[in-house]
């Protein structure tokens, strides 16, 4: 794949329209890497002038902050901001709502001021600008959408993901808890990196049950961590043959056979 880095761009004297912040999951996790590549295909298709930081990218510090380690978070944030500002980055797009939230809300006070998009917002913008069209390849297919906490409640973004999912021609089935009442997948607040505390059930299993109740064939997500949690939930219930978990970027890229 042709994925230019900011360093390469700079050496050619170019400054791209948008920086794609890939995030740790998007860079290293096998499942999330597929989402990353799907989104890059869409960026190519829409002729978006973009670049990544590549090996200069480091953790946003979000997970450290939610775990309570404000020191580590601010160390990460301040050094990331130094790099971003040295490239004079103006616009950032993320496929991870956690990076999106921290870059958008928590970096400005530390000196990092950028226009930050979640990829579902960015895709919607591309469609509105006529740079990308979404094929109605999933006509009538029952799809349910799981709101990531840091996109939905955290930042009030409920409609952009739903708008572009609908453009696939799907039959959108809402879970009983959705939008601002959506149930967490269980990964947030650094839970992704630890075992759950003692309880009688895993959160992702409860959330997957709500998704299964909709009789949807696809669970659409907008977060690599939610994706993992929901995929595990589906496996737990042995429903892999009935329902699949896909990021919205993947659904749209596949619709176009990208």
């Amino acid at each position: 794949m042709n994925v230019p880095t900011m360093a390469e761009m700079l050496s050619q004297g170019k400054s791209p329209e948008v920086l794609f912040w890939v995030g740790a999951a998007g860079s290293y996790d096998d499942r999330a890497k597929k989402i990353t590549r799907a989104f890059v295909k869409l960026l190519h298709k829409a002729n978006v002038d973009f670049a990544v930081l590549g090996t200069e990218e480091s953790s946003t510090g979000d997970a450290a902050k939610r775990a309570g380690n404000e020191f580590l978070f601010q160390m990460q944030a301040i050094s990331n901001i130094e790099i971003l500002n040295s490239y004079e980055v103006k616009t950032i797009v993320c496929t991870d709502p956690h990076s999106f939230n921290t870059l958008k809300n928590e970096y400005p006070e530390l000196g990092g001021n950028y226009k930050v998009y979640h990829h579902t917002q960015f895709i919607k913008k591309l469609v509105q600008e006529g740079r990308l069209d979404i094929k109605k390849s999933l006509k009538g297919k029952k799809v349910t959408y799981h709101d990531p906490c840091y996109l939905g409640r955290g930042n009030g973004v409920y409609e952009s993901p739903r708008d572009i999912i609908r453009k696939l021609g799907v039959n959108l089935k809402e879970m009983k808890q959705h939008k601002n009442r959506a149930l967490c997948c269980g990964a947030g607040g650094a839970q992704m990196f630890k075992d759950a505390e003692k309880g009688d059930k895993e959160i992702n299993i409860l959330r997957t049950e709500q998704a299964l109740e909709t009789n949807a064939e696809i669970i659409a997500t907008g977060c690599p961590y939610c994706n993992t949690m929901m995929t595990d939930g589906v496996k737990f219930h042995e429903k892999e043959s009935q329902i699949i978990v896909k990021d919205i970027a993947e659904l749209i890229a596949e619709a176009d056979n990208l």
Binding site: V3, T5, V22, A24, G26, S27, Y28, T36, R37, V52, G54, T55, E57, S58, S59, A63, A64, K65, R66, A67, G68, N69, E70, F71, L72, Q74, M75, Q76, I78, S79, N101, N105, E106, L110, C149, R153, G154, N155, N180, R181, L183, C184, G186, A187, G188, G189, A190, Q191, F193, K194, D195, A196, E197, K198, G199, D200, K201, I203, L206, R207
Partner: protein, 437 residues
Amino acid sequence: MNYIPNISFAIALFIGIGFFVMNVLKLVRNIKLGKEVDRSDRKTQRWKNMARVALGQSKMVSRPIAGFLHVIVYVGFIIINIEVLEIIIDGLFGTHRIFQPLLGNSIYGFLIGTFEILAFLVLVAVIIFWLRRNIVQIKRFMSKEMKGWPKSDGNLILYFEIVLMSLFILMNATDHSFQEAGFGNPISQFVAPWFSEYSLETLSSIEHIAWWAHIIGILIFLNYLYYSKHLHILLAFPNTYFANLQPKGQFNNLSSVTKEVRMMMDPDADPYAMPEEGLEEEIPEKFGASDVTDLNWVQLLNAYTCTECGRCTSSCPANMTGKELSPRAIMMKTRDRLEEVGRNIDTNKGAFKDDGKQLLNDYITPEELWACTSCNACVEECPIDIDPLSIIMDMRRFLVMEQSAAPQELNMMMTNIENNGAPWQYNQQDRLNWKDE
């Protein structure tokens, strides 16, 4: 003329209100034990938020049954209290229904009639509330933090309201001339016949007793507030005014940490520099919160405002899956500890004496704190904008930054971020490998 009733009334009023003011001052002092946080910005938006959420009850109705009943009690409470004004004037000056000649029969009748209907509706709503708590046993009222006093507190408030509303109706029903006039008695006219056997004198005594019991009841209820979860009827207003208006996903950046991080990352800083002559070495600030005095005053106001409805807990993913965490319990424990600190200050002549206790461990356990997914469901649910999550986060910060007491897996995650810029043990040089896979 006999002035004894007037004087007794004035004394009762003075004691009732005076005691209440004393407690309010104590409440304000306790809230001010919290750290400073600036909520003086965006005044227009704050007034609007208060008007919508507290005055307009906009978040209550998301649960339609409880929401609808609550709006009845709320509207009834506010409007019926206009009647208290007349009661106070009558009491002080020995008049009887002073507004009746002033307003004229039709307006007065309309007002009292409205109060009666509202009082009846409140009575019905409160009885349904009691049934929900005691007979239907709705799950969120049955949690373990609702055993003992919190349960009795909830019921006592309902009994208070039942008694006050009944006394109001009874007072009107036994007012012979009021019933004779036949206006403004849409409810009490059905109660009046129960007393048709009594002499006018007895009726008048019952009316007097009901009138006195009603106003004394109101004064007792006013003073009960401070000791109960019912403070929300007052504090919901400042609480929504001072609420956090930032996106919920945004957590505050600790400025004390920024100072240290900038110094650490400054290549020109001399790590061995001595503090300048004459300057006392700064006492390093405590990072995060282990006791109520480490929290900010809005978080403490939150604790006093919580009316323990449990909507937060019933929507908490950790609680729904049987974990120890309950956001409502976080608020209740914060208030319990704050009141303990307040009492400590009272008994030690204005200065807190170390009692060997703190909010962390003695009230809130690390297990509760580590169960949180920071999903903001509790914050979203709260009908009056209480933020349990910010307390959880501040306490996690203390555990991690002051005690290095994070769960082992989280320590590994943080070590990885420190060493290779990712929560997992991958080489930073491999960050772009995905493009060629």
